[in-house]
Assembly symmetry: C2
Homo-oligomer: 292 residues x 2
């Protein structure tokens, strides 16, 4: 299976898993709808696909893989819901659709985010085919990568960075935390489920780090070069808001060089794995070449 | 030790534990401050004290008890930060101090809440003196009691209830979820750390349920009978906002009867425990008689 077939196969399964997980909750209908709305709004499902691709490279069919993938996508989705709030990025449009608070109001959007985050930990705690020790590893890393020392911390730095010109180092730190941490977690979660050896986990961690930066640099580049239609969100927003980005700090050609550098490093990290991780290579290419 | 001595002994230790846990985070200074601000704003620490009291009744000094107590108080605190937001209850004052978003702005308040919630799961995952199996039990129940099927769901019902007159049954469901679930969790977490037997966990669960309702009915009563100074928050707010409360649905004397009923049921649940759980009895009395 190439990446395109792999995604075509798994994307509906990821969606189905998330829907089933939300459906199984005995909760107020409005909350269920608000949680589901953003989970069903599409998106690239890069994090679940990364986790599943890692397992595929290890040749493992894990019966709980989709659940963990769904839990990670829920964390990603909660972060988008909160980021889009008026007091944060104030975005009305996400993936071409009205954002959660536009549809459900701010209060329910905040609570739907809280609920998705909280549920993710419960989903992992209740996995049926993973040892308690491995569940604890998954939960520990999940908390670090999505919390104050990871994604949430990155969002704080991102907001604070809007008020000043960042150095390249500071910008990289924002991205490492805001986007990189959860992307890397997706990869490591796959490795944990695959019972990967320590050196393989190290290599995948390095892969994840560079992939995360490449992903974010491409995001910055697309904001300059893409159209709102392609992106499904307002293009050129960074420039209007005078936000520090790779193109603004480095110029567009240099940002593209930087993107190329991290993509190459990501691919080279894969060389230390046994076997030929074709899907992960293709995913790296996809992230570099994506249009949205 | 009676309850007053017990609280005097443990309250500074709980505070110290929370401070140490936040200090150990490598996170942006502003985020650390916002997280700490609400944790240091005082409060009754009822949830940590409940957990510690349960362990005391079982005669157990558990080296990780304060960490779990701190994690639960962080979840409670995150819920207060989010509840106080302008789009939710819009409270400027909490425990006699400006609320988190008044001091740090909405964005940072939301993120500080997110970070506290996420960290709580990590704290439990990293306990050093609890088996992975028991950590998973703690995390599973933590997720249920604080998430969509617990506290967050309760907050949704509470907000929706503001727009209509609730039945007594609906009001009870709001409280069961919004306040009761995490209170009960505090008790059960103590029981899990104490390796309590199944029937003891059942009894404590029943105790927690009635205690939670008693707690909330007293909250409703205090809103009518207390002063803002005593409460550290605006008194009479429920009446002004025409919110369904026990006094408004039942009249004040009947609400007091209901409070007495749940307090009695809570105490009677304790009878099935071995030994004489003096602290938990005193705590029940305290919750019924509190002025804030």
């Amino acid at each position: 299976m190439n990446l395109s077939q792999f995604r075509k196969h798994y994307e509906p399964l990821i969606q189905k898993e998330m829907t089933a997980l939300i459906d199984s909750l005995a909760v107020p209908q409005s909350l269920k709808e608000a949680m589901n709305y953003s989970l069903q709004a599409g998106g690239k499902r890069i994090r679940p696909i990364l986790l599943l691709a890692v397992l595929e490279e290890f040749g493992i069919q894990h019966p709980d893989a989709l659940k963990v993938a769904a839990a990670i996508e829920m964390i990603h989705t909660y972060s988008l819901i909160h980021d889009d709030l008026p007091s944060m990025d104030d975005d009305d449009l996400r993936r071409g659709m009205p954002t959660n608070h536009v549809v459900y109001g701010e209060a329910l959007a905040i609570l739907a985010g809280d609920a998705l985050l909280t549920y993710s930990f419960g989903i992992v705690a209740r996995l049926e085919h993973v040892s308690s020790d491995d569940k604890i590893r998954l939960i520990d890393l999940m908390s670090v990568s999505s919390g104050a020392e990871g994604m949430v911390g990155g969002q704080v730095l991102d907001i604070e960075g809007e008020e000043k010109k960042l150095t390249l180092e500071e910008l990289e730190q924002v991205h490492r935390l805001k986007t990189g941490a959860l992307l890397t977690y997706s990869i490591l979660a796959g490795a944990i489920l695959a019972q990967a050896a320590a050196e393989e986990i190290m290599a995948l961690s390095r892969f994840g780090e560079h992939l995360g930066l490449a992903f974010q640099i491409q995001d910055d580049i697309l904001d300059v070069t893409g159209t709102s239609e392609e992106l499904g969100k307002t293009a050129g927003k960074d420039e209007t808001s005078e936000k520090s980005t790779y193109p603004s700090l480095l110029t567009l050609p240099k940002a593209k060089e930087k993107l190329e550098f991290h993509a190459t490093e990501a691919l080279s990290a894969l060389n230390s794995l046994n076997g030929e991780p074709a899907l992960l290579r293709e995913l790296t290419e996809l992230i570099v070449q994506r249009k949205n």
